[in-house]
């Protein structure tokens, strides 16, 4: 009995001692992305040696599992000190509207971040007069990947519009490339859709779609599905069985000519497949989106009721700092959200993306949580399935509008 009491006392005492010095970071960065997070945590430990960092990673691509776990924890009243979330509506539409996040505007003022982050990005993470998360990295969604040597052999050039793309596709089919566009499972098809939509609607039309000013049933928006259907006819029929890496593999192996994928594909080809960016593989903005940077960003927020608020604030300070971003991003294969990062730390693709980040118009990605709330995003997969099943642009547009009305998109 006495032993037990002693043991309980020791445990209680220890946890009381450690209380001031803990920080739980909730994220979905594991595997290839793990080292980048670990480097950031090492940096944090150097600055705040007394703090015990708990790395709460829940694996699963794009955070699908992590988000479900996070919801259970938040509903149960046990928020982590800070959590990773896609910057934009994925955070705002779920957590900010439910009044679960702290406004970080004072932190942004204090650190002078309003000047170092581009305005287009600040707009995407602001809602009702507050700024709600600190972006740590930037990925680009509208990128088309190809192998220059193979295009030369086929005698084609990277198309600049979707009309050109379809013509190139026909030419390639005549040369025996059965599926010139490599495509993977459901979400990569949505990813392709957002590039087509951005090109068809233009950046203003794209933004209006998410503000509720342009209806999905508008003829201009229906035309997106029309073009999308034609583009799909250039793609491989077994798409649903392939991961995005397998789709990239098809381009690398020469079974396909192009792939539209976010710029994590550069990391995959450079690091995993050991290809040289710029020579072995190359990229261009997806057709019809030159001068527009469709971004997605991982960010960290501060939930209300965080147990170690001060430690979490210090973490956010580090995440938004130049040193933090230039430590994290070269390892992650993304670029810094700040405009003043050091290009020499990044590879050829990163430098090119940085140049575009500083000069292009910035819009947010749908599939990766920037422009639409989760309630819309999760059901957009159903819209895609309706289109793939019926091949009917109007039916897909009607379904999209019905969901937009149901979740109150743009309100």
């Amino acid at each position: 009995m006495r032993k037990w009491l002693l043991a309980i006392g020791v445990v209680l005492g220890l946890s009381a001692l450690a209380q001031g010095g803990k920080l739980e970071i909730f994220s979905w960065w594991a595997g290839d992305e793990g080292p980048a997070l670990e480097a950031l945590i090492r940096l944090y430990k150097q600055k705040y040696p007394g703090v015990e960092v708990i790395n709460g990673t829940v694996t699963g691509g794009a955070g699908v599992n992590a988000r479900a776990v996070l919801k259970t924890r938040m509903l149960g009243g046990d928020p982590p000190d800070t959590f990773q979330v896609h910057a934009g509506m994925e955070l705002i539409g779920t957590w900010v509207v439910a009044n679960r996040m702290e406004d970080l505007t004072p932190l942004f003022r204090q650190e002078g971040w309003l000047q170092v982050f581009p305005k287009g990005l600040i707009d995407l993470i602001s809602y009702k007069g507050g700024i709600w998360s600190v972006p740590v990295n930037i990925h680009r969604s509208n990128v088309m990947w190809y192998i220059p040597a193979r295009l030369r052999a086929w005698g084609v050039t990277p198309p600049r519009t979707w009309a050109e793309f379809l013509a190139t596709c026909e030419a390639l089919k005549r040369k025996g490339v059965q599926a010139p566009l490599a495509l993977g499972e459901n979400w990569t098809q949505q990813h392709l859709w957002e590039s087509v939509a951005l090109a068809t609607l233009g950046p203003d039309g794209w933004n209006n779609l998410w503000r509720g000013k342009l209806k999905f049933t508008d003829p201009k928006a229906v035309a997106v599905w029309d073009t999308f259907g034609k583009v799909l006819s250039c793609a491989n029929p077994d798409a649903s069985g392939l991961s995005w890496q397998q789709a990239v593999d098809r381009v690398v192996q020469g079974q396909a000519a192009f792939n539209i994928m976010g710029d994590w594909a550069a990391g995959y080809m450079a690091t995993t497949l050991k290809l040289k960016p710029g020579t072995d593989f190359a990229w261009a903005p997806s057709p019809g989106t030159q001068g527009v940077f469709m971004m997605l960003s991982d960010s960290f927020g501060l939930p209300k009721g965080a147990k170690n608020r001060q430690n979490a604030l210090n973490w956010l300070r580090l995440v938004g700092s130049k040193e933090g971003q230039d430590t994290f991003n070269p390892l992650k294969g993304s670029i810094a959200a700040r405009l003043d990062s050091d290009p020499s730390k990044y590879n050829a693709y990163g430098q090119s993306a940085m140049k575009d980040w500083r000069s292009n118009r910035i819009v947010g990605s749908l599939v990766h949580g920037a422009v639409a709330p989760e309630s819309f995003m999760s059901q957009f997969g159903t819209v895609m399935e309706i289109f793939l099943q019926t091949k009917n642009p109007q039916a897909a547009a009607n379904a999209a509008q019905a969901i937009a009305d149901q979740v109150g998109l743009g309100r």
């Binding site: 779920t94 009044n99 679960r100 029929p237 077994d238 649903s240 999760s378 059901q379 399935e385 309706i386």
Partner: protein, 369 residues
């Protein structure tokens, strides 16, 4: 008396635990399914969400709402999956049991071989079969080993549907199916000489058929035609599920076959029964209780299937969708908690339809003893 009190005290903890953690939560889930939790994003994940009672609105949307077309396809998928999976597992299991039963040698070895897949988890099975069913490899290149051309069926990647019907005709088909079951009940009652039951069943079947062919055909659930059918992508999933569970039914049947007294078989043979008559009149009837138990077990596995499809085709692929997957998508990705809860209740009802008659009949048997 003392014994009774002790018994009650001993049972109390588990009664409480089950009361709270099973029935309490079922009740809470039912309540949530009747609210609007998730409709208003400001309330969806608030610390103390305010829920409004909306009655059966969530259920109405699932069955007739425009956006929930995917739920309806998932129900159709589930029904076809359950039917084919049960038929396949029972059929293959019986064949294996008969073969192993008659094998002069190596029975223990083959029994283990066939039973082994059951020891795997559905996630492992799913991953293996996902590889094997890749359109350009695995099963499709198997014929080339014998010098034949490779198969070209795309398995999980196909979007083709067969047995397509209009969702608007669902009440009609349902009434037809229920009427057929009632007719069967009437037939059985007639043969057993239970006049009352016979008349009742006949009468209900007649009313249902009358309704189906008059009002039932005119009833429209949706203002437009909406087709659903058996998606062929499920064939691969069914194959994997049968591969996993056929060994289990084999084990059940094997036990059943061993339970048939040799005297009965001998007597039948002496009476001049052919091998087929032996099966038809002696062995199959004596295996009927086993078949029923196996159907219950397989049926509730099929109705709750999630992990196998998760591993084989992922969550986002509608052709292999089932309600459990759609429920997960709605609740934990789309924050539509009330609608997710409604699907949960529907799944519970479906399983109850399978399990409760079985439990009731078992209970009655025990009381009779």
């Amino acid at each position: 008396m003392r014994d009774r009190i002790t018994a009650f005290l001993v049972l109390l903890p588990s009664l409480l635990a089950i009361g709270i953690f099973v029935y309490g939560f079922i009740g809470q889930n039912l309540w949530v399914s009747l609210t609007d939790w998730g409709k208003d994003p400001a309330q969806a994940l608030a610390l103390r969400p305010e829920l409004r009672f909306v009655g059966l609105e969530n259920y109405r949307e699932l069955f007739t709402g425009f956006v929930d077309v995917r739920f309806r396809q998932s129900v159709v998928n589930l029904i076809f999956f359950t039917l084919f999976f049960m038929a396949g597992s029972l059929g293959l299991g019986l064949l294996l049991a008969l073969a192993v039963d008659r094998a002069p040698k190596g029975e223990g070895f083959f029994r283990t071989v066939f039973l082994f897949p059951m020891a795997l988890s559905f996630v492992v099975t799913g991953t293996i079969w996902r590889w094997m069913l890749q359109p350009q490899g695995g099963v499709n290149v198997l014929p080339t080993l014998f010098g034949l051309p490779p198969l070209s069926f795309p398995w999980l990647a196909t979007r083709e549907q067969v047995l397509v019907f209009d969702w608007n005709h669902l009440p009609f088909y349902t009434a037809l199916a229920v009427a057929l079951v009632l007719l069967y009940v009437a037939h059985a009652a007639y043969r057993e000489g239970e006049r009352r039951r016979f008349l009742w069943a006949l009468f209900s079947a007649g009313v249902l058929l009358l309704w189906a062919f008059t009002l039932g055909r005119g009833l429209k659930l949706l203002p437009y035609p909406e087709t659903h059918g058996f998606s062929l992508a499920l064939v691969g999933v069914i194959l994997a599920a049968i591969w996993q569970m056929a060994g289990y039914t084999m084990a059940l049947y094997l036990a059943g076959l061993r339970g048939i007294p040799v005297e009965v078989l001998e007597a039948a043979r002496v009476d001049g029964a052919s091998e087929w008559q032996l099966f038809r009149r002696v062995i199959f009837p004596m295996l009927a209780p086993i078949t029923l138990s196996a159907m219950i077990v397989l049926g509730h596995i099929a109705l709750k299937i999630f992990d196998l499809i998760f591993a084989m085709a992922g969550l986002d692929y509608a052709p292999t969708d089932v309600p459990a997957i759609y429920m997960y998508l709605l609740a934990f990705r789309g924050n539509q908690f009330a609608k997710g809860a409604a699907i949960g209740i529907l799944l519970l009802l479906l399983v109850a339809v399978v399990v409760i008659p079985y439990l009731a009949s078992q209970l009655r048997k025990e009381v009779r003893r």
